[in-house]
């Protein structure tokens, strides 16, 4: 499972289309809507985490959105690990349920598999050294 946090800007003519339905049905993606602002006769804005099995599937979904006239901006693509600040304490690994953060049990170093990250943000609060952040923009 991989994910992207994306921002969608709707043109008025696209607002009526059930795009999240198509993302689920046609592209087998899982949209998780975090914020929605849709005003009639104006632009709509939607922030969502889009999850899929592979990078290709995700890209296909994003391409479909663009084709429908939706402007797509990728807000977060991965969790950033600041090696300088990290002490390899491992505190973040207890709250990461996706396996993105684990400890190497040979050398006890933190291992980040960022493609497994689903942006739950639990680890941001768990790190005593503020060594983890979300890459945005």
């Amino acid at each position: 499972m991989i994910a992207r946090r994306i921002e969608l800007i709707f043109k008025p003519q696209a607002v009526s289309k059930p795009i999240t339905y198509y993302l689920v049905k046609k592209f087998e993606l899982i949209p998780n809507i975090l914020q929605a602002r849709i005003f009639p006769e104006e632009e709509g804005q939607l922030i969502m985490d889009l999850k899929g099995e592979t990078e290709q599937e995700l890209q296909a979904g994003i391409k479909y959105l663009a084709e429908e006239g939706v402007e797509v901006r990728v807000l977060a693509r991965s969790i950033i690990h600041n090696r300088e600040k990290c002490t390899d304490c491992g505190a973040c690994t207890g709250v990461c349920k996706t396996g993105a953060l684990t400890l190497n049990r040979e050398n006890w170093e933190l291992v980040l598999a960022d493609h497994k990250c689903l942006f739950c943000e639990m680890c941001l609060d768990a790190c005593p050294f503020q060594a983890l952040s979300l890459e945005t923009g």
């Binding site: 207890g94 049990r105 005593p128």
Partner: protein, 389 residues
């Protein structure tokens, strides 16, 4: 019966560069292969270490006198209050003290870290003014080099074992053991287990007042038993305590320490704390010390405690050992599986044990025999209640 070694003999061998020094991890394998008797003959020193959150820590400073002089009564360092109820330009900065304006984001630990990293720290002090100390306020910028004295004096470090924290409630709670997710979402543990100093000398035979230690990269000393020292907790057949037991008060020169081994931390919704690296060498005086230092994660047990219960005595959910904790999963009473994560860095603890081994092997670090032992019988009491309560 094998030979008994003295501190003097061991130090002679260290000075000649001939001492056999192993880390506490290496000692486990050595004893498993060669037996306790051979190990007690051949091994001189075993190095132990830990790198974890040690909230009860802080530093004494002497700032030097201003002209005209001030007897500082209230002191702030980068807006973090330090205790100055001593004469005249001395202060004690507690690691967990939070900044007046930035709260849990920045505190005493961060000031100590900034000083260690060579950064400038802003000092502000006020006083009422006296005939001999007329000045009423002073402000200046200081670095570690500008201070007359700067030494860590930590009242309680190096906990001998510690319980595991879980949360049985319906919501995430934020504790000094980190965030604990609802419904036993995760379990947090903090001891370095088989590498931890006091678990390798469970009855404090060689770790006592005056013992020279590795403290934050410098030579430090054990000053006293730590606060809340509690040697009478339940122990297993091997003498290993089954929960938080002995503690140490340590002292050492901040000016000689290395930022690699001291890190300021902010624990969400709890506050500021400091991670400190401590290494303690254990002389293998006889077979008993060889046996103690061969202790492994398998032999060290601790209780799983429910931190969602807001009482001093909290319910427990079973007893686990550190091999299980380190595997990443434990099973609680009743069969529930819970993910585990450490709070202290085993990697840094290993690094410190290796560094101390190196210093001793090179003849740069000699052992000091304690001038007095720490208590094996002190009782640890809760806060006394008022009669009417």
């Amino acid at each position: 019966m094998s030979r008994v070694k003295s501190y003097q003999e061991i130090n002679q061998r260290i000075k000649k560069g001939k001492a056999v020094v192993l880390t506490a991890e290496e000692m486990i394998d050595f004893v498993a292969e060669n037996g306790v008797s051979t190990a007690s003959e051949e091994v001189d020193v075993v190095t132990t270490a830990t790198f974890g959150a040690m909230c009860s820590s802080g530093a004494f400073f002497n700032f030097g006198h201003a002209d005209p002089p001030i007897r500082m009564e209230k002191v702030w360092l980068n807006d973090v209050p330090a205790y100055a109820g001593m004469a005249a330009v001395d202060a004690y900065l507690g690691a967990t003290e939070e900044s007046v304006d930035r709260g849990e984001e920045y505190g005493g630990a961060h000031v100590i870290e900034d000083l260690l990293q060579g950064k400038t720290v802003h000092l502000r002090a006020i006083a009422k003014g006296t005939d001999c100390y007329p000045r009423q306020e002073v402000e200046t910028d200081l670095t570690l080099a500008d201070l007359n004295q700067a030494y860590l004096f930590n009242p309680r470090n190096c906990y001998q074992n510690y319980s595991v924290a879980v949360n049985s409630s319906e919501q995430t709670i934020y504790t000094y053991m980190g965030p604990l997710a609802a419904n036993f979402g995760n379990a947090s543990y903090s001891s370095a287990g088989q590498l931890s100093p006091l678990l390798n000398d469970p009855y404090y035979r060689t770790i006592g007042i005056g013992t020279r230690v590795f403290l934050g990269g410098a030579n430090g000393y054990i000053a006293w038993e730590g606060t809340q020292h509690n040697p009478l907790v339940e122990r297993n057949e091997a003498g290993i305590p089954l929960g938080g037991a002995g503690t140490l008060a340590v002292i050492g020169d901040l000016k000689e320490m290395d930022p690699e081994y001291i890190s300021a931390a902010s624990i969400k919704n709890y506050g500021v704390t400091i991670y400190i690296g401590i290494g303690i060498p254990i002389p293998i005086l006889d077979q008993e010390m060889a046996r103690y230092t061969a202790v492994s994660d398998r032999d060290i047990y601790t209780d799983v405690v429910d931190y969602s219960v807001a009482a001093l005595k909290k319910p427990t959910y079973g007893r686990v050992n550190y091999q299980q904790l380190r595997s990443g999963k434990i099973v609680l009473t009743g069969g529930r599986e819970v993910t585990t994560a450490p709070l202290s860095s085993y990697k840094r603890a290993r690094q410190i044990a290796a560094e101390l081994k190196e210093r001793i092997s090179q003849g740069h670090f000699l052992l000091e025999k304690p001038v007095q032992g720490i208590s094996n019988s002190r009782t640890f009491r809760p806060l006394k209640k008022r009669k009417e309560d």
